[in-house]
């Protein structure tokens, strides 16, 4: 019995902690993708709480009612094999719950894998985000600029991050904007992100990749499109061009602060997509590569 109370007190403690603190990053979305995942998380928390509460109540009642100390010493518990209807219920209800959550899971996964609704009509802003130990390189092919460890994006526009790695598997994650996706050396992944509120968001590699992993983070700054354009212009006026030698230097294992260049490394070291994919076997199966794109 003590267990139950410790338990409930603990849950209550957690709840009050939750209420007292700032909203948790994942549950404080600033764009439609993260909002979808946050909603899914809330739906599942509520559904699952019902199950936990049912089990807790049943357990508590049974333990209180059928403990030996409360019973006649001569009481002999009956032999019960099972009951078709009762067992039907304990199979049936979980199946209904799982079916419901399956629908939620499939539809929401489809949503977050595609450009969010309302932002899918326009061409996305393409940014290549590639990782090296222990940095993030952001190439803007259209703007012809490249940054290290920070990325600026315009608000209310779909940004298509194309993710890959110069070595270890890493995972590109900006909790308040969208769920994460792996960046790997031999294929390019696509992540659609929209920020609906201007601000600075933490992003990091969440997949362990060696000694410098803990500091393998970056920031995403969302700003009005006009500000974004003038930022790009500024870079073209002030930054040095990115040379191949310079880029090779950047790839050396270690940490770098924020850096800014004109030009991108895509010109001399393109991403593993299309004909540059290491698993690309001639043009005949180019549809194969097209498949990696969103549908």
């Amino acid at each position: 019995m003590k267990l139950k109370w410790t338990y409930l007190a603990f849950l209550a403690g957690i709840a009050s902690l939750l209420a007292g603190c700032e909203p948790l990053l994942v549950l404080n979305p600033k764009g439609p993708q993260a909002e979808t995942t946050a909603n899914v998380i809330w739906i599942s928390i509520i559904t699952m709480s019902v199950i936990v509460i049912v089990v807790l109540v049943m357990l508590t009642v049974i333990l209180l009612k059928y403990r030996a100390s409360k019973q006649d010493p001569d009481y002999e518990p009956p032999h019960i094999e099972g009951n078709k209807y009762l067992e039907g219920i304990i199979v049936g209800i979980p199946i209904i719950i799982v079916a419901f959550l399956s629908v939620v899971s499939a539809t929401s996964t489809h949503q977050v894998e595609n450009p969010p609704e309302g932002y899918d009509a326009d061409e996305p802003l393409v940014i290549y985000a590639s990782s090296s130990n222990w940095k993030w390189h952001f190439s803007y092919p259209e703007q012809d600029i490249e940054t290290v460890n920070y990325v600026f994006i315009p608000t209310n526009q779909n940004v298509e991050f194309r993710l890959y790695s110069h070595g270890t598997i890493s995972s590109f994650w900006v909790p308040q904007l969208a769920g994460q996706k792996y960046a790997m050396a031999d294929m390019t992944n696509y992540l659609n992100v929209v920020a609906e509120e201007p601000g600075e968001y933490v992003g990091r590699n969440s997949n362990f990749n060696g000694e410098g992993f803990a500091e393998n983070d970056f920031t995403v700054t969302a700003m009005a499109p006009s500000e974004f354009d003038s930022w790009v212009e500024d870079i073209h006026n002030t930054a040095e061009p990115l040379t191949e030698e310079k880029f090779e230097e950047l790839l050396e294992p270690g940490h770098l602060g924020r850096m800014t260049f004109t030009g991108t490394h895509q010109d001399f070291k393109p991403a593993p997509e299309g004909e540059n994919s290491p698993h690309h076997h001639g043009s005949s199966d180019s549809e194969d590569d097209g498949e990696h794109h969103h549908h």
Binding site: C21, S44, G82, E87, L101, A106, N114, G179, N205, F208
Partner: protein, 649 residues
């Protein structure tokens, strides 16, 4: 001297490491001196190291598992200490990476696996009324191969350096490009050698359970733990070969310059992740099903009722075993398979909740109308139900692919799998150990100390792991050796550390309980101290070498209960000579040579590899031509033993 350079540990300016090396050396010397002083070498060799008795092998597995629990537990406390406050410098990044890697490997492969296999070894032959397993010598070899693997893995700490690529050992991080030193070679060979032992166990127990059950024990009359063991071993036989091959491919990549998992020349790093989890997910059920079996025995015993829904219990385990092979992709929803593949694996994963739910409700219904006694084993089982339910429902949350994009690689995931493994597997093994302790050693563990340990462990568990759900949702990635204060992870991480300390106190109390009870517990506990129900309780405590003087005659899954309460005639025949297998030093020598083979392979000492390989082949040839017909225990001897226990049944 160049030759010897390879054995040195990669540079650490960490005095703690050297302190632990000294401690290990001192303990080893103390053991050798102690054995010599008390003249126990002969006893150790004759009674334990060469034994083929399933009970002793089981106990050796469990002792090894407990040792590994303390090794892995020390790693855990170090991790929680390092992350208890922001920007801590107790461990550096490299050391932290090694610590969480070894923590994972030791706890899963060398602690949990050994514990469940030890428990199966001790209990299954007794539960089915057999004299031993089908292949006793092979069984000893399984144990010694496991032990060789465990020792090889632990050696990495002092010779050459520990693996540091996580227990999941993802390539290319685990490849030579990013992990140059021998740590991952150790990982490959330690898991390979003990994995071969596990595969043999799988075959051995399937044969044992299929062929050696007592007369009358049809499959649907087997006690639930035996059912769980049968299904577990079937999963082992299907899953472990995948690990064997994946490890070999990794070994070839690292040591012979192939490109299976590299990022160049057509290699595919994602293939390792796939192969690892095709083994790894069934592995999760290899661990949890025997735990379910133990809980079924304990809950039924202490509710004084038969297990509710026996058939649906069996059916749900069969369904779980099939589904366990169809869900591996959920370990990397974020790899970019696209929405369709992720949705399919999301649904198969959630489907497992259905058979698992059946089991939870069946346990509840077993207690319903029962007469519940709160013994220590029962308290662990009662705590298991709600805690495992929370672990299970967070598993369903993780199974929702879109949401997993936010949980993946975070402390939320860490909280989830500890939430199923600790209340699931660890509680079950402790409960099972306490429950079967009188069967193993003929005395009971102290209940009062046991309950103190229980409360420390349960409260410690909640404090250690529940905060991680929250920090995970707040964006804390797993495996970070430190974090800044601005993240806000500090206070909850401190709570976690306090929980880890309570857990440690709980485990120390369990060890103290063993010492205390060994010294003070009464030795006349009788054959049925728990008022139990299944067949293993129909023989004496501690169990004599031959298990049952007369092979029992079984009518139901609760043969012993029927014998006690319903007048079932359990022992029909009369005492006869019993044929038993002989002890043999072959297994330990074989495994010893395998250890040398693995060690030399780790360090590319090819001469040693070749010599050890010839030794391995030689051992197999020797065994093929060896003639050993075992021995008989004579009737008079058995009658004598039975009389000592208070008369034959």
């Amino acid at each position: 001297m160049d030759f010897f350079d390879r054995f040195s540990i990669p540079p650490h300016d960490d005095p703690m490491l050297y302190a632990s090396i000294v401690a290990i050396a001192i303990v080893s010397i103390a053991i050798v001196v102690g054995l010599t002083y008390f003249k126990k070498w002969g006893y150790l060799w004759n009674e334990w190291l060469t034994t083929v008795d399933h009970k002793r092998i089981g106990i050796m597995y469990i002792i090894s598992a407990l040792l590994m629990l303390f090794r892995g537990g020390a790693d855990a406390v170090m991790m929680r200490l390092q992350t208890a406050v922001p920007d801590n410098t107790f461990l550096d990044a490299q050391h932290y990476n090694e610590v969480f890697t070894t923590h994972g490997v030791v706890m899963i492969i060398f602690m949990a696996m050994a514990f469940i296999i030890g428990m199966m070894n001790f209990v299954v032959p007794l539960q089915i009324g057999a004299r031993d397993v089908a292949f006793p010598r092979l069984n000893a070899l399984s144990f010694w191969l496991y032990f060789a693997g465990a020792m090889l893995f632990n050696l990495s700490f002092v010779v050459g350096g520990s693996p540091d690529a996580g227990w999941t050992n993802y390539y290319p991080l685990a490849g030579t490009d990013f992990s140059e030193h021998v740590g991952v070679n150790y990982y490959n060979w330690a898991l390979q050698i003990s994995g071969i032992g596990t595969l043999m166990t799988g075959i051995n127990f399937i044969a044992t359970i299929m062929k050696m059950r007592a007369p009358g024990m049809k499959l649907m009359k087997m006690p639930m733990f035996t059912w769980s063991a049968l299904i577990t071993n079937l999963i082992i036989v299907f899953a472990f070969p995948v690990l064997t091959i994946a490890l070999l491919m990794g070994t070839f990549d690292r040591q012979f310059f192939t490109n299976f998992f590299t990022t160049s020349d057509g290699g595919m790093d994602m293939m390792w992740a796939n192969l690892f989890w095709i083994w790894g997910h069934p592995e999760v059920y290899i661990l949890i099903l025997p735990a379910f079996g133990i809980y079924s025995q304990i809950i039924s015993t202490f509710s004084q009722r038969n297990l509710y829904g026996y058939k649906s219990m069996v059916a749900s385990m069969v369904v779980i075993s099939l589904l366990s092979f169809l869900v591996w992709v959920h370990h990397f929803f974020t790899m970019g398979q696209g929405a369709v593949a992720n949705s399919i694996f999301s649904i198969t994963t959630m489907a497992i909740a259905v058979p698992t739910g059946i089991k939870i409700f069946n346990w509840l219904l077993t207690m319903w109308k029962g007469k519940i006694r709160f013994t220590t084993p029962m308290m662990y089982s009662v705590a298991f139900i709600p805690l495992f339910t929370i672990g299970g429902v967070t598993g369903v949350m993780l199974a929702m692919a879109s949401a997993d994009y936010q949980y993946h690689n975070t402390m939320f995931l860490v909280a989830h799998f500890h939430n199923v493994i600790i209340p699931g597997v660890v509680f079950a093994m402790i409960a099972g150990l306490i429950y079967y302790w009188p069967k193993m050693f003929g005395f009971m563990l102290n209940e009062r100390i046991g309950k103190w340990a229980f409360w420390n462990i349960v409260i410690g568990f909640c404090l250690a792991f529940f905060p991680m759900y929250i920090t995970g949702l707040n964006g804390q990635a797993r495996r970070m050796y430190t974090y800044s204060e601005s993240t806000g992870f500090g206070p909850l991480s401190m709570v976690s550390f306090i929980g880890a300390l309570l857990l440690a106190v709980g485990f120390v109390l369990i060890v103290y309980n063993v010492y205390y009870s060994f010294r003070h517990a009464p030795r006349n506990v009788g054959d049925d101290p728990w008022n139990a129900r299944s067949l293993e309780w129909a023989t004496h405590n501690p169990v004599p070498e031959y298990n049952f003087a007369i092979t029992p005659n079984v009518n139901s899954e609760e043969a012993f209960w029927d014998y006690k309460k319903n007048g079932h005639d359990l022992f029909k025949g009369k005492i006869e000579d019993i044929h038993m297998p002989n002890n043999s030093g072959w297994s330990i020598i074989f495994a010893g040579i395998f250890f040398v083979f693995g060690f030399c392979f780790v360090f590319h000492v090819w001469a040693g590899v070749i010599i050890a390989f010839l030794g391995i082949i030689g051992c197999m040839i020797y065994r093929s031509f060896e003639k050993d017909d075992g021995h008989h225990i004579h009737k008079e001897e058995i009658e004598e033993t039975e009389k000592k226990f208070g008369g034959a049944k």
